[in-house]
Protein backbone atom coordinates (compact mmCIF):
# COMPACT_ATOMS: atom_id res chain seq x y z
CA UNK A 1 0.00 0.00 0.00
CA UNK A 2 2.72 2.46 -1.00
CA UNK A 3 -0.05 4.37 -2.83
CA UNK A 4 -0.43 6.26 0.46
CA UNK A 5 3.15 7.56 0.09
CA UNK A 6 2.43 8.41 -3.54
CA UNK A 7 -0.78 10.28 -2.60
CA UNK A 8 1.03 12.23 0.12
CA UNK A 9 3.75 13.18 -2.35
CA UNK A 10 1.18 14.43 -4.89
CA UNK A 11 -0.54 16.54 -2.21
CA UNK A 12 2.81 17.99 -1.12
CA UNK A 13 3.83 18.76 -4.69
CA UNK A 14 0.54 20.42 -5.67
CA UNK A 15 0.42 22.55 -2.51
CA UNK A 16 3.99 23.65 -3.09
CA UNK A 17 3.30 24.63 -6.73
CA UNK A 18 -0.12 26.19 -6.11
CA UNK A 19 -0.11 27.35 -2.49
CA UNK A 20 -2.90 29.92 -2.77
CA UNK A 21 -5.27 28.33 -5.29
CA UNK A 22 -8.42 26.39 -4.61
CA UNK A 23 -7.78 23.01 -6.24
CA UNK A 24 -10.75 21.23 -7.80
CA UNK A 25 -9.06 18.27 -9.51
CA UNK A 26 -5.61 16.78 -10.04
CA UNK A 27 -4.77 14.57 -13.01
CA UNK A 28 -2.10 11.92 -12.58
CA UNK A 29 -0.62 9.99 -15.49
CA UNK A 30 0.28 6.42 -14.60
CA UNK A 31 2.37 4.05 -16.72
CA UNK A 32 1.35 0.42 -17.17
CA UNK A 33 4.29 -0.71 -15.01
CA UNK A 34 4.31 2.17 -12.52
CA UNK A 35 3.46 -0.17 -9.64
CA UNK A 36 0.46 1.97 -8.76
CA UNK A 37 -3.07 0.58 -8.39
CA UNK A 38 -5.52 3.35 -9.42
CA UNK A 39 -8.21 2.35 -6.89
CA UNK A 40 -5.68 2.28 -4.05
CA UNK A 41 -4.37 5.67 -5.16
CA UNK A 42 -7.89 7.18 -5.20
CA UNK A 43 -8.49 5.83 -1.69
CA UNK A 44 -5.10 7.18 -0.59
CA UNK A 45 -6.07 10.55 -2.07
CA UNK A 46 -9.11 10.88 0.20
CA UNK A 47 -6.96 10.13 3.24
CA UNK A 48 -4.01 12.28 2.16
CA UNK A 49 -6.13 15.35 1.36
CA UNK A 50 -8.31 15.18 4.50
CA UNK A 51 -7.72 18.25 6.64
CA UNK A 52 -5.75 20.01 3.89
CA UNK A 53 -6.88 22.72 1.43
CA UNK A 54 -7.12 19.91 -1.15
CA UNK A 55 -9.86 18.09 0.78
CA UNK A 56 -12.80 17.35 -1.50
CA UNK A 57 -10.76 17.67 -4.71
CA UNK A 58 -10.94 14.95 -7.34
CA UNK A 59 -8.05 12.74 -8.39
CA UNK A 60 -8.21 11.77 -12.07
CA UNK A 61 -6.00 8.79 -12.97
CA UNK A 62 -4.98 8.53 -16.65
CA UNK A 63 -3.38 5.25 -17.68
CA UNK A 64 -0.60 5.68 -20.24
CA UNK A 65 -0.35 2.82 -22.75
CA UNK A 66 3.03 1.13 -23.14
CA UNK A 67 4.54 0.69 -26.62
CA UNK A 68 5.60 -2.87 -27.36
CA UNK A 69 7.15 -4.76 -30.27
CA UNK A 70 6.28 -8.31 -31.30
CA UNK A 71 9.26 -10.65 -30.89
CA UNK A 72 7.98 -12.76 -33.80
CA UNK A 73 6.62 -10.42 -36.52
CA UNK A 74 8.19 -7.14 -35.37
CA UNK A 75 4.91 -5.20 -35.44
CA UNK A 76 4.48 -2.41 -32.91
CA UNK A 77 1.39 -2.07 -30.74
CA UNK A 78 0.27 -0.13 -27.68
CA UNK A 79 -0.44 -2.32 -24.65
CA UNK A 80 -2.66 -1.41 -21.72
CA UNK A 81 -1.76 -4.26 -19.38
CA UNK A 82 1.55 -5.52 -17.95
CA UNK A 83 3.35 -8.15 -20.04
CA UNK A 84 2.96 -10.84 -21.21
CA UNK A 85 0.62 -9.67 -23.96
CA UNK A 86 -0.03 -11.53 -27.24
CA UNK A 87 0.52 -9.77 -30.56
CA UNK A 88 -2.92 -8.95 -32.05
CA UNK A 89 -1.46 -9.75 -35.49
CA UNK A 90 0.36 -13.06 -35.11
CA UNK A 91 -0.14 -14.13 -31.48
CA UNK A 92 3.56 -13.84 -30.66
CA UNK A 93 4.94 -12.25 -27.47
CA UNK A 94 4.79 -8.46 -27.28
CA UNK A 95 7.88 -7.08 -25.56
CA UNK A 96 7.55 -3.63 -23.95
CA UNK A 97 9.81 -1.06 -25.59
CA UNK A 98 9.93 1.30 -22.61
CA UNK A 99 9.72 0.66 -18.91
CA UNK A 100 6.20 1.98 -18.41
CA UNK A 101 7.28 3.69 -15.21
CA UNK A 102 5.69 7.10 -15.82
CA UNK A 103 4.09 8.59 -12.73
CA UNK A 104 3.49 12.27 -13.34
CA UNK A 105 1.21 15.01 -12.12
CA UNK A 106 -0.36 16.43 -15.29
CA UNK A 107 -2.91 19.22 -15.18
CA UNK A 108 -4.47 20.68 -12.05
CA UNK A 109 -7.91 22.25 -12.26
CA UNK A 110 -8.15 25.32 -10.03
CA UNK A 111 -10.90 27.77 -9.18
CA UNK A 112 -10.35 30.87 -11.21
CA UNK A 113 -10.01 33.52 -8.53
CA UNK A 114 -8.77 36.32 -10.80
CA UNK A 115 -10.35 39.75 -11.13
CA UNK A 116 -12.48 38.60 -14.10
CA UNK A 117 -14.00 35.73 -12.19
CA UNK A 118 -17.70 35.03 -12.52
CA UNK A 119 -19.71 36.87 -9.92
CA UNK A 120 -17.78 40.09 -10.15
CA UNK A 121 -19.98 42.72 -11.76
CA UNK A 122 -18.47 45.38 -14.02
CA UNK A 123 -18.53 48.66 -12.16
CA UNK A 124 -20.90 50.94 -13.93
Amino acid sequence: MHEMSVANEIVRSVRQALPDQEVLAVTVQVGVLAAVVPDALRFGWEVATAGTPLAGSRLVVELLPLPARCLDCGAEHLTHRPPPNPCPGCGGDLMPVGRGRELRIGTVEIEDGGPTAAGQEPSQ
Partner: protein
Amino acid sequence: MSELVDLNRAVMARNDELARALREDLAAAGTVAVNLMSAPGTGKTALTERLLTGLLERGTPAAALTGDLATENDARRLASTGAPVRQITTGGMCHLEAHLVRDHLNGWLPTGTRVLIVENVGNLVCPAGFDLGESLRMVLSSVTEGEDKPVKYPTAYRWADLAVLTKTDLAGPCEFDEDAFLRAVRSVDADLPVVRTSARTGEGVPQLLDHLERLAAGVAPAARRG
Protein backbone atom coordinates in the same frame (compact mmCIF):
# COMPACT_ATOMS: atom_id res chain seq x y z
CA MET B 1 -15.13 29.28 -13.52
CA SER B 2 -12.09 27.10 -13.34
CA GLU B 3 -8.84 26.89 -15.23
CA LEU B 4 -6.25 24.19 -15.89
CA VAL B 5 -2.63 24.52 -14.86
CA ASP B 6 -0.12 22.08 -16.36
CA LEU B 7 2.24 21.05 -13.54
CA ASN B 8 3.94 18.26 -15.52
CA ARG B 9 5.97 17.07 -12.55
CA ALA B 10 7.18 13.56 -11.71
CA VAL B 11 5.47 12.33 -8.54
CA MET B 12 8.66 10.61 -7.43
CA ALA B 13 10.80 13.64 -8.23
CA ARG B 14 11.85 14.22 -4.64
CA ASN B 15 12.83 10.57 -4.06
CA ASP B 16 14.49 10.32 -7.48
CA GLU B 17 16.57 13.46 -6.89
CA LEU B 18 17.66 12.25 -3.46
CA ALA B 19 18.56 8.86 -4.94
CA ARG B 20 20.58 10.43 -7.75
CA ALA B 21 22.51 12.60 -5.28
CA LEU B 22 23.11 9.57 -3.05
CA ARG B 23 24.41 7.51 -6.01
CA GLU B 24 26.83 10.32 -6.85
CA ASP B 25 27.99 10.71 -3.23
CA LEU B 26 28.53 6.96 -2.96
CA ALA B 27 30.43 6.88 -6.26
CA ALA B 28 32.65 9.73 -5.06
CA ALA B 29 33.44 7.64 -1.96
CA GLY B 30 34.19 4.57 -4.13
CA THR B 31 31.07 2.67 -3.05
CA VAL B 32 28.37 0.99 -5.13
CA ALA B 33 24.98 0.15 -3.64
CA VAL B 34 22.96 -2.93 -4.54
CA ASN B 35 19.20 -3.05 -3.91
CA LEU B 36 17.88 -6.56 -3.13
CA MET B 37 14.18 -6.99 -3.66
CA SER B 38 11.95 -10.03 -3.15
CA ALA B 39 8.84 -11.37 -1.47
CA PRO B 40 9.15 -12.32 2.23
CA GLY B 41 10.95 -15.64 2.72
CA THR B 42 12.78 -15.81 -0.62
CA GLY B 43 16.18 -15.78 1.04
CA LYS B 44 17.46 -12.22 0.77
CA THR B 45 19.14 -12.41 4.18
CA ALA B 46 20.71 -15.83 3.51
CA LEU B 47 22.11 -14.61 0.19
CA THR B 48 23.30 -11.35 1.77
CA GLU B 49 25.16 -13.40 4.42
CA ARG B 50 26.88 -15.34 1.64
CA LEU B 51 27.73 -12.22 -0.33
CA LEU B 52 29.12 -10.31 2.67
CA THR B 53 31.23 -13.29 3.74
CA GLY B 54 32.46 -13.84 0.18
CA LEU B 55 33.35 -10.19 -0.41
CA LEU B 56 35.25 -9.95 2.89
CA GLU B 57 37.15 -13.17 2.08
CA ARG B 58 38.18 -11.63 -1.25
CA GLY B 59 39.39 -8.51 0.56
CA THR B 60 36.57 -6.30 -0.72
CA PRO B 61 35.19 -4.14 2.11
CA ALA B 62 31.41 -4.62 2.21
CA ALA B 63 28.56 -3.49 4.43
CA ALA B 64 24.80 -3.96 4.57
CA LEU B 65 21.66 -2.04 5.41
CA THR B 66 18.66 -4.24 6.02
CA GLY B 67 15.06 -3.10 6.00
CA ASP B 68 12.37 -4.67 8.13
CA LEU B 69 8.93 -3.64 9.30
CA ALA B 70 9.48 -4.32 12.98
CA THR B 71 12.47 -6.41 14.07
CA GLU B 72 16.26 -6.23 14.18
CA ASN B 73 16.62 -10.00 13.63
CA ASP B 74 18.18 -9.67 10.17
CA ALA B 75 20.86 -7.24 11.32
CA ARG B 76 21.81 -9.59 14.17
CA ARG B 77 22.06 -12.49 11.72
CA LEU B 78 24.14 -10.53 9.21
CA ALA B 79 26.46 -9.11 11.87
CA SER B 80 27.86 -12.62 12.37
CA THR B 81 29.63 -12.22 9.00
CA GLY B 82 31.87 -9.57 10.57
CA ALA B 83 30.71 -6.90 8.12
CA PRO B 84 29.27 -3.59 9.35
CA VAL B 85 25.49 -3.99 9.34
CA ARG B 86 22.73 -1.57 10.20
CA GLN B 87 19.01 -2.21 10.51
CA ILE B 88 16.39 0.13 9.08
CA THR B 89 13.15 -0.49 10.95
CA THR B 90 10.39 1.11 8.89
CA GLY B 91 7.72 1.02 11.58
CA GLY B 92 5.27 -0.75 9.32
CA MET B 93 6.08 1.00 6.05
CA CYS B 94 6.14 -1.53 3.20
CA HIS B 95 9.23 -0.28 1.34
CA LEU B 96 12.47 1.68 1.73
CA GLU B 97 12.84 5.22 0.39
CA ALA B 98 16.00 7.09 -0.56
CA HIS B 99 15.89 9.42 2.45
CA LEU B 100 15.82 6.43 4.83
CA VAL B 101 18.92 4.98 3.20
CA ARG B 102 20.71 8.32 3.23
CA ASP B 103 19.85 9.02 6.88
CA HIS B 104 21.07 5.58 7.98
CA LEU B 105 24.33 5.90 6.04
CA ASN B 106 25.21 9.33 7.40
CA GLY B 107 28.05 9.02 9.88
CA TRP B 108 27.86 5.22 9.83
CA LEU B 109 29.15 3.85 6.51
CA PRO B 110 32.83 3.05 7.07
CA THR B 111 35.26 4.86 4.77
CA GLY B 112 36.59 2.52 2.11
CA THR B 113 33.42 0.43 1.78
CA ARG B 114 33.30 -0.82 -1.81
CA VAL B 115 29.98 -2.67 -1.87
CA LEU B 116 26.89 -1.70 0.11
CA ILE B 117 24.09 -4.27 0.05
CA VAL B 118 20.65 -2.81 0.78
CA GLU B 119 18.17 -5.53 1.67
CA ASN B 120 14.73 -4.09 1.00
CA VAL B 121 11.57 -4.88 2.97
CA GLY B 122 10.15 -8.25 1.88
CA ASN B 123 7.60 -7.15 -0.72
CA LEU B 124 7.63 -7.41 -4.52
CA VAL B 125 5.15 -4.62 -5.17
CA CYS B 126 5.83 -1.39 -3.31
CA PRO B 127 9.67 -1.25 -3.25
CA ALA B 128 9.78 -1.39 -7.07
CA GLY B 129 8.85 2.29 -7.44
CA PHE B 130 11.59 3.66 -5.19
CA ASP B 131 15.13 4.29 -6.39
CA LEU B 132 17.46 4.01 -3.38
CA GLY B 133 20.60 5.30 -5.06
CA GLU B 134 21.63 1.79 -6.08
CA SER B 135 23.83 0.97 -9.06
CA LEU B 136 22.40 -2.53 -9.35
CA ARG B 137 18.91 -3.71 -8.64
CA MET B 138 18.46 -7.44 -8.07
CA VAL B 139 15.06 -9.11 -7.97
CA LEU B 140 15.00 -12.49 -6.24
CA SER B 141 12.53 -15.35 -6.27
CA SER B 142 12.96 -18.90 -5.00
CA VAL B 143 12.17 -22.27 -6.56
CA THR B 144 9.65 -22.82 -3.74
CA GLU B 145 7.55 -19.86 -4.97
CA GLY B 146 6.76 -21.40 -8.34
CA GLU B 147 7.63 -20.46 -11.91
CA ASP B 148 5.30 -17.53 -12.50
CA LYS B 149 6.67 -14.88 -10.10
CA PRO B 150 7.94 -12.71 -12.99
CA VAL B 151 4.53 -12.45 -14.65
CA LYS B 152 2.80 -11.90 -11.31
CA TYR B 153 5.17 -9.04 -10.45
CA PRO B 154 6.14 -7.64 -13.86
CA THR B 155 7.09 -4.21 -12.52
CA ALA B 156 9.67 -5.61 -10.11
CA TYR B 157 11.21 -7.67 -12.93
CA ARG B 158 10.97 -5.01 -15.60
CA TRP B 159 12.84 -2.47 -13.49
CA ALA B 160 15.51 -4.88 -12.25
CA ASP B 161 19.03 -5.19 -13.65
CA LEU B 162 19.51 -8.81 -12.63
CA ALA B 163 17.13 -11.63 -11.70
CA VAL B 164 18.32 -14.13 -9.10
CA LEU B 165 16.75 -17.54 -8.59
CA THR B 166 17.31 -18.77 -5.02
CA LYS B 167 17.12 -22.12 -3.18
CA THR B 168 18.06 -24.09 -6.31
CA ASP B 169 19.09 -26.97 -4.01
CA LEU B 170 15.33 -27.49 -3.46
CA ALA B 171 14.41 -27.47 -7.17
CA GLY B 172 14.07 -31.28 -7.33
CA PRO B 173 11.75 -31.80 -4.34
CA CYS B 174 9.65 -28.81 -5.51
CA GLU B 175 9.49 -30.14 -9.09
CA PHE B 176 10.52 -26.66 -10.17
CA ASP B 177 10.26 -26.19 -13.95
CA GLU B 178 13.22 -23.97 -14.72
CA ASP B 179 12.39 -23.62 -18.41
CA ALA B 180 8.93 -22.30 -17.51
CA PHE B 181 10.53 -19.82 -15.10
CA LEU B 182 12.98 -18.60 -17.74
CA ARG B 183 10.12 -18.23 -20.25
CA ALA B 184 8.22 -16.15 -17.66
CA VAL B 185 11.26 -13.90 -17.19
CA ARG B 186 11.72 -13.52 -20.95
CA SER B 187 8.06 -12.65 -21.47
CA VAL B 188 8.48 -9.64 -19.18
CA ASP B 189 12.00 -8.68 -20.15
CA ALA B 190 13.84 -10.43 -22.98
CA ASP B 191 17.25 -9.05 -21.91
CA LEU B 192 17.20 -9.57 -18.15
CA PRO B 193 20.14 -11.74 -17.02
CA VAL B 194 19.26 -14.62 -14.66
CA VAL B 195 21.62 -16.16 -12.08
CA ARG B 196 20.75 -19.47 -10.30
CA THR B 197 21.85 -19.50 -6.67
CA SER B 198 21.72 -21.58 -3.53
CA ALA B 199 22.82 -20.05 -0.24
CA ARG B 200 23.07 -23.61 1.09
CA THR B 201 25.38 -25.11 -1.55
CA GLY B 202 26.95 -21.82 -2.66
CA GLU B 203 25.85 -22.27 -6.28
CA GLY B 204 25.96 -19.00 -8.21
CA VAL B 205 27.58 -17.09 -5.35
CA PRO B 206 31.01 -16.73 -7.00
CA GLN B 207 29.30 -15.44 -10.15
CA LEU B 208 27.46 -12.77 -8.15
CA LEU B 209 30.65 -11.86 -6.26
CA ASP B 210 32.48 -11.44 -9.59
CA HIS B 211 29.66 -9.21 -10.82
CA LEU B 212 29.71 -7.05 -7.66
CA GLU B 213 33.48 -6.69 -7.81
CA ARG B 214 33.34 -5.66 -11.48
CA LEU B 215 30.61 -3.17 -10.62
CA ALA B 216 32.68 -1.72 -7.76
CA ALA B 217 35.65 -1.46 -10.12
CA GLY B 218 33.46 0.38 -12.63
CA VAL B 219 33.74 -2.26 -15.37
CA ALA B 220 30.29 -3.89 -15.18
CA PRO B 221 27.55 -2.57 -17.44
CA ALA B 222 25.70 0.32 -15.83
CA ALA B 223 22.20 -0.19 -14.53
CA ARG B 224 19.45 0.04 -17.12
CA ARG B 225 17.73 2.98 -15.52
CA GLY B 226 15.21 5.05 -17.42
